[in-house]
Subunit: 275 residues, 2 copies
Amino acid sequence: MCIDEKDKPIGIFDSGVGGLTVVREVMRNIPKERIVYFGDTARVPYGSKSKETILRYSRQIVRFLRSQDVKAIVIACNTASALALEELSREITIPIIGVVKPGAKVACATTKNNRVGVIGTKGTISSGLYTDFIRQINPHIHVVGKACPLFVPLVEENWLKDPVTVEVATRYLAELKEQNIDTLILGCTHYPLLRSTIGKIMGEQVTLVNPAYETACRLRELLHEEHLMNETSLEENKNPHRFYVSDAAESFRDFANSILPCEIEKAKKINIEDY
Amino acid sequence: MCIDEKDKPIGIFDSGVGGLTVVREVMRNIPKERIVYFGDTARVPYGSKSKETILRYSRQIVRFLRSQDVKAIVIACNTASALALEELSREITIPIIGVVKPGAKVACATTKNNRVGVIGTKGTISSGLYTDFIRQINPHIHVVGKACPLFVPLVEENWLKDPVTVEVATRYLAELKEQNIDTLILGCTHYPLLRSTIGKIMGEQVTLVNPAYETACRLRELLHEEHLMNETSLEENKNPHRFYVSDAAESFRDFANSILPCEIEKAKKINIEDY
């Protein structure tokens, strides 16, 4: 393995801004890595689209990220992780991981009473994608899913600890509290931003699993295994990370700057259908 | 004009379920007309997409509706009305109208102090599409826009008069109340379902303009002018209307049944990209 290979950036993509919670965890936990992010803001949301469409979109994005010479790819989108990871893994030679498996795995290792809750968008919950992964690992685990469609727009309004958000979350989570779960997966990339509100409502006896964090940990392991870990620190003033979107670059930048540990100057809009 | 022509249905389309408020107004105000509705639920939302994309999608939908032999078309989507109506009018021979112009026209005729408010999605407000139409009619009118991104998911949760919705609406509308407007356009097809909540907050001195209703009135006029009005009553037991979507047909049907004056049995999923 030559030095050059280690110096290459990590490619991370999502259907929109939500995947920035994965970027945040990678920045915090593997701070020497450079990131190239793509948010498919023109074609968001992915949750209601067919497998065929998600696969076509994901292939375009992977081609774009490879044109940026990335050394590994993270699918920071629940839908694309569930529907496209397997095919993409067979099609490319660099390592690629998604957010669903690491989240499901840690939930299985965490639960003591074999009762796991999953919250997510309507698309994620009705597709049962976390349920399927969890059952593959341990068929004895009972999985309770609950769609929380107002959480994404509440996060995008930045009303993270607002009384409105607390009231909405209290209603959504009431069902799950009755189900005696001891582990709850935050199954949508936006939800870690509501972690403190959700944690207070669910109480101390319920462990929250953040797939964004677990994915960053899995990525760190993988870079080790493949001898791809960058060993030189990033020079802070050099803006090592790059952000691309398919639409609405300015509102993307504003949202990114509200949640990332470093300031980003701009997100560049590209025509993803050209890839 | 032969009888057959008058018997044909009206085609109505939207990016998703919102356009059903236009369907509702057509059913109420022109009850003898049959409707063929298409909701592009797989590619919703349109607000963040480019003009080129909206035009391509709208052309596909118009081709589909024409395959259903409609006699006139209503674009029940704010974005597509603003971005595609002009081109489509030139391309087809049957009458076609949108929701933006009728709403803007009535707002201009209603305001006495020349101060009009518009609420809508982020896409509608930032594109200034109502502002442009109003200024074309009367350049002296001052238009104040306010995006209300939580309204659509609140309507889709069916929390129409819920305390959470009242609190959210009170915050969103506070800015508009300060601006001394006397007329407020409900510039998103979902918002008429929040009419009573919005009306209470804005107070009696502000007239709410519902583009869905104004569009149904404009359609009635147009059918008269073109001698296309159906003169025989619909037989209630015959399910005269037809509903098509590009995805998630079941949740569409549930939403439709919660707001329409008649029960619909099913919505049929079609592959719109084939048109």
